[in-house]
Subunit: 214 residues, 2 copies
DNA sequence: CCCTGTTTTAAACGCTTGTTTAAAATTGCT
DNA sequence: AGCAATTTTAAACAAGCGTTTAAAACAGGG
């Protein structure tokens, strides 16, 4: 009896599934397509992973993990908040340059309306667990950060990181630019976003805080 | 012979198809599902629209049209640029509150990797045709607008409008808030986004322009 | 009231889907 | 080498897919 096989087969399937699922979504691809991408039989996919759904769950949760990892690493440092956010923006653009399809993948599959939804409440708990939200509130009370809702801070950060990658195809068509041009554009855009967000969230000097709080 | 029928059948199918396609995507639903949603036979769907793909094309292009309409209406006015952008943000949040799934729908289906892609170059040409991009360049040359790339301006506007709707499910889970709470959040967020973007793009007083231009 | 064209239906088409089966190939061990 | 467990294969399964067919139901004008 073999206890620990080469495992390259199982891994090859996982690797292929990751590529195919992320590129086309759960309902946009077939089991046979994944098998072919891994260079093997359909039955093997179900031999190692019980079903298409079971395999998908593994891939999806791994993607979520990857996505959260860099975020958590930044938030768990002991730098001042402004530096943390700067680092977050930097790391996020780095990550998304490498895996530009992951946000679309996560958002689409989370919003899938076919009853086969995966529960992620536990996954997101660990963001709150870093204490980043509390840190924001402290800085806000101290008058060093603009007093806007924490949810809006999250929205500002995520919008300006993720959309440029999710909506790449649209933007490229609107402005008629090539893939290479857009890649350069994103490098520039990261700087703009950082400058704008940090400037807005941490207004130096006499700027009025509490602008939108009632 | 009947020249102009009630037409309610054709319209009912289109209405049902719109709902189903936008909610689940092209590959996420079936012809029979659309037929059932419209309360009729599968064959009828293909009697009025030749195929699932043909029906999809109609729905997709209508969604694109709806999406662009409010944008064009704003851009074709003769208000000063800053007012135009304020109006754009307002109208866009209004539109997206009503049809929150359209951006995801457009972005996903545009990026679909199965060779059945719809060409939209013509559609996007009409944005450029409003002269909004030229107007930005004029304002930049006159020193009234921050000198950043036009593509980045588009990115900033679209990111902060569309992501809050596309990523709603994620944000709600991260902060554990309800649908109603999030709806209120979005009203507040629109104000924040407007203030931040206008403040950044049209820096009053002594602020240094040309910050990221080399 | 039948006749012509249109709209709707039920049933079938061939094909692909996810999944299972059972036999073949491979492996590790003694 | 021989045996038992594991891995891989080809083939089949029912179910569902998009699409087509042919007949039924319906409409209005003579």
């Amino acid at each position: 009896m073999k206890l620990k096989t080469d495992s390259s087969t199982e891994d090859k399937i996982k690797e292929a599934a990751k590529q195919v699922f992320i590129a086309k979504g759960f309902s946009g691809c077939t089991s046979r397509e994944i098998a072919k991408a891994a260079g093997m039989n359909v039955a093997l996919v179900n031999y190692y992973f019980r079903s298409k759904s079971a395999l998908f769950k593994i891939i999806f949760e791994a993607a979520m993990g990857d996505f959260l990892l860099s975020m958590l690493e930044v938030f768990n440092t002991s730098l001042p908040l402004e530096e943390k956010l700067r680092n977050y923006l930097d790391r996020e653009y780095q990550f998304l340059t490498k895996y530009p399809e992951i946000p679309s993948f996560i958002i689409n599959e989370m919003g899938r309306k076919d009853g086969a939804n995966i529960d992620n409440t536990a996954v997101f708990k660990c963001i709150e667990h870093t204490g980043i939200f509390e840190e924001c509130k402290i800085e806000q009370k101290a008058g060093r950060m603009r007093e806007i809702d924490i949810t809006s801070i999250t929205l500002l950060m995520m919008s300006n990181c993720q959309f440029p990658f999710m909506g790449a195809a649209v933007i490229k068509q609107v402005h008629g630019i090539s893939d290479e041009q857009y890649e350069k554009q994103l490098v520039q855009h990261k700087q703009i976003v950082t400058e704008m967000l940090i400037g807005y969230l941490f207004p130096k000097s006499q700027t009025i805080l509490q602008t939108t709080k009632k």
